[in-house]
């Protein structure tokens, strides 16, 4: 008889666990708090997948595009790719004695970030091109992938590849389970993201659209390779995002998700098609669990989009209110 109590305790625990699992199975977005935003997303997906319904969209046209920095992974206090470029400058410095006297490299190596910042977009581009070109495509993929897996975000004490948003992972899964094809459409470098998008988001490299440098086909040591050149090919940002979508995907998305004014054109383009459409922005409102920034931020500026959201039917996702969890459990 002594065993009855512990056994029923075990059974009770199992039942509670089962009930929790069932509740979760019936909620495709467990890390999204109940409310208007979650309802809007689920209502949209139900509408476009309802065969015979007025808003039905065939599976092949269910294209969803997501910005990356600030929408799928953390971009604050500085874009991940910029941090990568800064660290690469330090690593590559021994091979570049000329950097000792050349700005903005000299300032960066001396830790003088004020001078680096004063060099503006031109200086930043020099740093990015110097660290993102000269090697083969395969070599760069290795460098970027290793760095993203091995380097920790200072606030979250987790690798950058895991400084990604749990509610968005659930949304990506939910969309794919409903026949959507999910794409990244980012101002970031296409080759910087691709090495990790499958493991991070379940998005294969061929479904990543981003900024790029010119590359050239060459035979190097008898091997056919692609060499990355120190020249910008395409900036996939702002009005470049719909262009990148046309070039890479060739259809207009029916759902687009961003987090800054740089995503406005992608979302305008998405909502400009016929039928049911959805456009969303992450609003970073959670200083405690993540960061709070918007109109005056030096990264991910969200200003005009906030003003125009209501008039355009754009959904502003309030991180603090709408997200039950921010990061995946480790």
């Amino acid at each position: 008889m002594k065993r009855t109590f512990p056994n029923s305790y075990v059974l009770g625990f199992a039942l509670v666990f089962l009930a929790a699992a069932t509740a979760q199975a019936s909620d495709p977005l467990p890390s999204w708090n109940d409310g208007k935003t979650k309802q809007a997303i689920i209502g949209f997906v139900e509408d476009v997948t309802q065969e015979g319904g007025p808003h039905y969209v065939p599976p092949e046209a269910r294209i969803a595009t997501f910005d990356n920095d600030g929408t799928l992974w953390v971009e604050y206090p500085m874009y991940t790719q910029v941090l990568f470029a800064f660290e690469r400058v330090k690593e590559l410095a021994p091979q570049h004695p000329e950097w000792k006297t050349k700005q903005p490299f000299k300032a960066l190596l001396a830790g003088d970030m004020k001078t680096v910042g004063a060099s503006g977009m031109k200086g930043l581009m020099e740093i990015v091109l110097a660290t993102h070109s000269g090697m083969t495509a395969t070599e760069f993929a290795q460098e970027a992938g290793d760095w993203l897996r091995d380097t920790q975000h200072p606030k979250f004490k987790r690798p950058y590849v895991e400084a990604i948003y749990q509610p968005q992972l659930e949304l990506l899964d939910y969309l794919r389970a409903n026949g959507f094809k999910t794409f990244i459409v980012s101002g970031g470098g296409i080759a910087f993201m691709r090495p990790v998008t499958q493991e991070a988001y379940g998005i294969p490299p061929e479904q990543v659209v981003g900024s790029s440098v010119v590359s050239e086909f060459k035979i190097k040591n008898g091997k056919p390779v692609l060499v990355r050149m120190p020249k910008i090919d395409f900036i996939n940002d702002k009005a470049g995002k719909p262009v990148g979508i046309y070039e890479h995907i060739g259809r207009r998305p029916i759902l687009a998700f961003g987090n800054s004014d740089s995503d406005m054109q992608m979302i305008e383009y998405t909502l400009g098609g016929e039928g049911r459409r959805l456009g969303l922005f992450v609003h970073h409102t959670d200083a405690e669990r993540e960061f709070a920034y918007d109109r005056k931020s030096h990264v991910g500026t969200l200003d005009k989009a906030l003003d125009q959201a209501a008039a355009n039917g754009w959904i502003i996702v309030d991180m603090k209110k709408d997200w039950k969890a921010v990061f995946p459990a480790r």
Copy 2:
């Protein structure tokens, strides 16, 4: 008793039909004649899909790229897209009075193909840009798709969208059934092919890589659209093919299929990776069922690739010998 004979006749017919159907089901490439080429293809697919085998390739890395003109659809006696451009010049002429005096438009409108030809690549580019820009992405897709569905190939008396090779359709299906993702990688215009690639080949627009013009995001009559500009963005041909593959797909294919010297770099790049790889060229040897052309042809020149095939392990597919049927039954 009189009915016995007819009934057994019907039964016999049914059995023969069933046997034929079974034979076909067991042969994934019924329009390919048995022989070395077919064996090489099937052997390759079996090798890379055999789990635990020495040549196993995980499904996500099973990328196959196909040239289009002369590899998937007919390119002779003239590239389909060039014929489309020529016809569009005639249709658009009333809106372009300046063409009456401007070469090569004047010659083209007068049917003076010798002068058009003498204008060379520069003249051809002028014709292509004049007919492929100025409209929105959606408008151009409509024009190209309609034309490909409505215009007949003079020799085959079937629309261009159906002047496609049956053995290749079977190969595409066979590859996809074995977990491959199939892509078009063509020197032709990406926006010219995309409207029909799904219906013709089962390849969605986002898996088409090709040449492109610059496009711009604009608000036109209050609608967000992409406008095609009269400027070449990228020529996806020769050494441009590996670059297009890197940009759009982001991984090295393990199978590539072309038909001309313009496909050599794509096939070199494909075979330059680790592990089991396959590179093939269609050799147009069938003057009766299709066309016979190679080294001296003005389209789809196959010359250097023929010389270098054996040394490089490239497979030359002999259309006359290797293909049981050329076009799909109508």
